[in-house]
Symmetry: none
Amino acid sequence: MADRPISELYWKTPLEAARKPALNQLAKTGICGIIDPISPGTPPGSDAATLAMLGYDPLKVYSGRGALEAVGSNVKVLPGDVAFRCNFATVDKDFVVSDRRAGRIANEDASKLVESLRKVGLKKSFNVEFLFQNTIQHRAALVIHGPKLSTAVSDSDPEVAGKKVLEVKPLDSSPEAEHTAKIVNELMHEFHEVLMDHPVNKDRVKHGLPPANMVLCRGAGTIPRIMSLRQVFGIKSVCVSAISLIKGVCKVAGMNVLNVKGATGTPQTDYMAKAKAAVQALKANDFVLLHVKATDVASHDGNARLKVEIIEKIDKMLDYIFDNIDSDSTYVVVTADHTTSTVTRNHEGDPVPVAITGPYVRRDDVVEFGERTCAQGGLNRIRGMDLMHILMNLLGRSKKFGA
Amino acid sequence: MADRPISELYWKTPLEAARKPALNQLAKTGICGIIDPISPGTPPGSDAATLAMLGYDPLKVYSGRGALEAVGSNVKVLPGDVAFRCNFATVDKDFVVSDRRAGRIANEDASKLVESLRKVGLKKSFNVEFLFQNTIQHRAALVIHGPKLSTAVSDSDPEVAGKKVLEVKPLDSSPEAEHTAKIVNELMHEFHEVLMDHPVNKDRVKHGLPPANMVLCRGAGTIPRIMSLRQVFGIKSVCVSAISLIKGVCKVAGMNVLNVKGATGTPQTDYMAKAKAAVQALKANDFVLLHVKATDVASHDGNARLKVEIIEKIDKMLDYIFDNIDSDSTYVVVTADHTTSTVTRNHEGDPVPVAITGPYVRRDDVVEFGERTCAQGGLNRIRGMDLMHILMNLLGRSKKFGA
């Protein structure tokens, strides 16, 4: 949601340019501020930022994307396992990637390919087992299970089409990193051998579709060793999100993850279905995290107008929430997990706005919800990991430090 | 530049009292805030504060003044060497210091003395070599090279005239600290023996000048073990400063240090020559640090009017810079490395103002550059070590944390 001022919007940010009566109501009745999700100037990844917003110190607990995304896709990952986010992709005979998503291959085709890939045998000497699981379209997770593994290995995914598949390399000098890199390279080689002549791919080529003849890996990660929100704060909590990565973060924090029909993580998501699910969930829980991905999608596409429209839809979600909760006993918070610039199309390290409303908050003079108005608010400038502690304090769930 | 409100200026700070159209323009078009160079309430030394402003954590990397100043004076210091800032001084027969600067001895005299001091032999058992080098006037650097040295030793410089030269003492119980203290005491003794009867000093006394019959040491330090700005942010950077200590900090950060004709570090420095050098340097570099010492000198002298005048000259430098850079692709930041009170004449722990202008910054409502106006700005209150990260984020040079 957060952005920088844009010429196209007469030097307003999309949030400043949007019609947003409910968000302004939140700012007016609440206490506002700005948040550095990780630290001032550091562009946050969504996973690390969400961990921080849930109260964990990202610099201490973040352990890579792969495991979080796998967990969020219902792939089983055990402590110590190293997991990767994978793509089915199309490569030519020189291993140059022509399509990083193999034509966004259908779930059915991907499932058939995965069935064959699971039969691949790894050398006994590696002393590991692997789990390979497709999730949606070209997306998949690879989990390696065994002793002496490391997340300190590079990606094989070159991130852009037209480049060669990369060799996975150890990122430090430990034998574990070398061992893990060898396993992944070997697996990718074996996968390619199976995929090349696979009937599904022969059929795809016959129908003019790009064959899924390669698997690309990235984001080696393990499960963060953290206590659950229930353990830390004694709360029962739920997450409403369409995004595997966010779901994974919430799961490792011990939250219950709801699957909402029509929630897609795209600008076409069913905003109101998510708002309704969140309100419903609040009846049996202490804390609900309602996450909308669409603003980030619009920013990555450089579409300022779309971002404004999405924020106006989010405003309607908030309006619905205000109308359907008990404002005498409920706190409502709105913030973003990072700034995404619609100009650079990247996550940026600028702070994000936040507003908290609910019983007994120290209401300030801010009357409009925005990046710059909130900077004048009573919360001043805080860190992402501070937010949950501030909320739990309002809820009476914080532990005293000292006597 | 930063100060406290002063009765003489009708309870304005020198910065608030100054005519400063360019600084106000910066505040008006940019985002403002206040910075704790080290931490709230901690009076910063220039060296530690400059390290922080360059993005390093001063509490982790600061390792004493001596080595930084030596490096800044082009004296060679290797990792592990312990270096001291030294003064030629005048003492009486009871080792009471009568002049801490030996009448600000001329470079020529000091060089002749150094030539003799270099011949001093240290006991073989110490297992060290030393390098002694005069820089400007009474100033010199002592570098000790060898195994098992420590910076945990006290100063021999009593800091004020009328007091006795101090014995250098170990500041912890390590054998390294004891060893280093012994070496320095022995050297100071040997130096004194050579200086007492030196023809240069006999000649000085004959001409009514105070003899440079003692060397005072302070600020034991080693080179901080830090990555260069190029390694951290991938930037090519330059420093324009007349001060050895600042030059040394910039050198250890891997910056190129320019020597500008007329730059003296005094209120009489050639301000415009420095501004021109900075603008010129920007053409071939990503980052230029332009440092002016004069405001600090005025504060240490308790001269508020002079400080106001100097700030007005700095304002003209900024005006020149604005007129000669490409504002579509350049960020301009003004801040101070510490508050110096013109009343206490000391560095103080009050925060310093900052303003950043350039493409896509979240401009705020501050229209005047000052200690108190900037406290209302959109950056709120940050740490010294945050500033560089915020700038590098604007430049697109920051690394994402998380995925």
